[in-house]
C-alpha cells in the first residue's frame, strides 16, 4: 500500500515544495509508504500502482495547474480514494466542468460539518489559503462549509474528496483518516 502525493506547484522541485508537499508526506508517512510525483510528469497509467492519491495545495499566486486540466482527466475514471487539497479541490471541480468563484481567505477559519463523513465531524478550526472557492457539480455532495464558502465535497458514488482548507497545517488527523479509509489499517 502506497499513497501518491501529487505535487501541484508550478514546477517540479520548487521553493513551495517544502511548504505544500512535505507537510502532507510528514503526516501520512508514519502510517504508510508515500511517493511524490509532480503533476506534469504523472502518467495516468501510474495511478493503478497506488492505494490512495492526494493532490497538494499551491501558493496563493500559483494557478498554473488550471492551464493543465488535460493532465487531470484521469480523475474522472479513478475509483481509488482521492483527496484534493485547495488547488486539488479546485482541480477536481474544474475536471467535472464546474466553475470557481473569487473568494479569498487567509488564516484560521471556522469550518462546520454539514454531512457525516469518515474524515471529520462537528465544527473545527482549519487553515485557509485560497483565492477561489468551488461550487461542485451535482455529482458531488457538500460535506462542510465556512461562513464564506463550501469547504469540503465528496463524489456521491466514489471516494473522491475535496477540501478547500489545508488539513496538513492544523488538522493532520484528517489526512490520517483519509489514508486509513478503505485500506484496512
Amino acid at each position: 500500500m502506497t499513497v501518491l502525493v501529487v505535487d501541484m506547484n508550478w514546477k517540479k522541485d520548487s521553493l513551495a515544495y517544502t511548504e505544500f508537499v512535505s507537510p502532507i508526506v510528514a503526516a501520512v508517512e508514519p502510517l504508510v509508504a508515500c511517493a511524490v510525483r509532480h503533476y506534469l510528469e504523472l502518467q495516468p497509467s501510474e495511478i493503478d500502482g497506488y492505494s490512495h492519491i492526494i493532490l497538494s495545495g499551491t501558493p496563493l499566486k500559483d494557478f498554473k495547474f488550471q492551464k493543465h486540466l488535460d493532465r487531470f482527466q484521469w480523475i474522472k475514471t479513478c475509483t481509488k480514494p482521492l483527496l484534493g487539497i485547495c488547488a486539488g479541490m479546485q482541480t477536481i471541480t474544474k475536471v467535472y466542468s464546474e466553475t470557481l468563484s473569487a473568494c479569498q481567505q487567509v488564516g484560521m477559519t471556522e469550518i462546520t460539518t454539514t454531512k457525516e463523513n469518515p474524515l471529520f465531524s462537528g465544527a473545527f478550526q482549519a487553515y485557509s489559503l485560497h483565492s477561489y472557492s468551488a461550487t461542485p457539480s451535482p455529482l458531488f455532495e457538500v460535506l462542510a462549509e465556512s461562513k464564506e464558502c463550501i469547504q469540503a465535497i465528496k463524489h456521491r458514488q466514489k471516494p473522491l474528496y475535496g477540501v478547500l482548507f489545508h488539513p496538513e497545517v492544523r488538522n493532520p488527523d484528517i489526512l490520517k483518516r483519509f489514508v486509513e479509509s478503505g485500506s484496512g489499517i
Binding site: L15, S22, P23, L60, D62, G107, V169, R170
Partner: protein, 226 residues
C-alpha cells in the same frame, strides 16, 4: 524569480534564505526593527547585527523601524516590502515561519495586496531536525534571548551544537518548551552560515537578565575572514 527575504538575523530566517537561494534569486533582505520587545511579529535581540549579516552575505538590506504596536507594525512591514519591490524588483517574499499561522497569514495578506508571491520554506519542519540541519550545515548560531522557565542566563551566548540540541529536546519533554523556540522561548543570532562570505566576531557583549528572561546583547561586532 527575484525574492526578498524577511530577515531577522536569527536561525530561521537565515535558513529560509539559504533554501530560497538554492531555488531562486535572492535580491535583498528586509529587516523590521521593532522597538517593542514583546512584538509577536518581529524577532528583537540583536536585530542591529542584521547590517553586518547583510554585508557578510553580500546582499542589500531594506531596513525600517517600527514602534511595534500590533497592527501599525504590519503597516510598517508593508512599506518595507513595497520599498523592496520598487528598489529591487522582487516578485516574492520569503519568511522563516515554521508554525506561526499568525505571522505567515499576516505576511501573506501584505504580499497579496502588493501582488507578490509568498513562501515559507521551513513551514511545519520538525523542530529537532531544523536544529540538526543548522549543525550539519555548519551554521554558527548563538542563543541571544531566553524567555521561558527553566531557561536561565547560562543559556545566553551559547552556540547551538549537538549537546545544546539534546538538552533542549529534553526540556521539551519535561516543560513543553519548543526546542527551536517556536513559542518564543528562545531567540537566536547567526554569526556564520554557508552563504556568509565573512563571519561575525563578537568583540563586546553583555548579558541582561530581568525576572525570568534575558538577552545576550551584542554591543560590538565585526566581520572577519572565514
Amino acid at each position: 524569480m527575484r525574492l526578498g527575504v524577511l530577515f531577522s538575523g536569527g536561525k530561521d530566517s537565515t535558513l529560509a534564505l539559504h533554501l530560497a537561494a538554492e531555488k531562486e534569486t535572492v535580491a535583498c533582505l528586509i529587516t523590521v526593527v521593532s522597538k517593542n520587545k514583546e512584538s509577536f511579529m518581529f524577532h528583537t535581540p540583536n536585530i542591529d547585527v542584521s547590517g553586518l549579516q547583510a554585508e557578510a552575505l553580500g546582499l542589500p538590506l531594506v531596513r525600517v523601524e517600527t514602534e511595534g504596536q500590533k497592527e501599525e507594525e504590519l503597516a510598517d512591514l508593508e512599506c518595507a516590502i513595497a520599498e523592496a519591490k520598487s528598489r529591487f524588483g522582487i516578485e516574492g517574499v520569503v519568511t522563516g515561519a515554521v508554525e506561526s499561522v499568525y505571522q505567515a497569514s499576516r505576511v501573506q495578506r501584505i504580499c497579496n495586496r502588493l501582488d507578490l508571491w509568498q513562501f515559507n520554506p521551513l513551514w511545519k519542519t520538525d523542530q529537532k531536525a531544523l536544529l540538526e540541519t543548522l549543525v550539519a550545515k555548519k551554521y554558527q548560531v548563538i542563543i541571544s534571548g531566553v524567555f521561558a522557565y527553566p531557561l536561565d542566563e547560562k543559556w545566553l551566548g551559547k552556540q547551538i551544537d549537538p549537546v545544546v540540541i539534546a538538552r533542549l529536546v529534553e526540556l521539551q519533554g519535561k516543560y513543553a518548551i519548543s526546542p527551536s523556540g517556536e513559542g518564543g522561548e528562545i531567540e537566536t543570532t547567526v554569526l556564520d552560515a554557508p552563504l556568509f562570505r565573512q563571519k561575525i566576531e563578537v568583540t563586546d557583549a553583555a548579558v541582561q537578565w530581568s525576572g525570568s528572561s534575558g538577552v545576550y546583547v551584542i554591543k560590538e561586532a565585526r566581520l572577519v575572514p572565514k
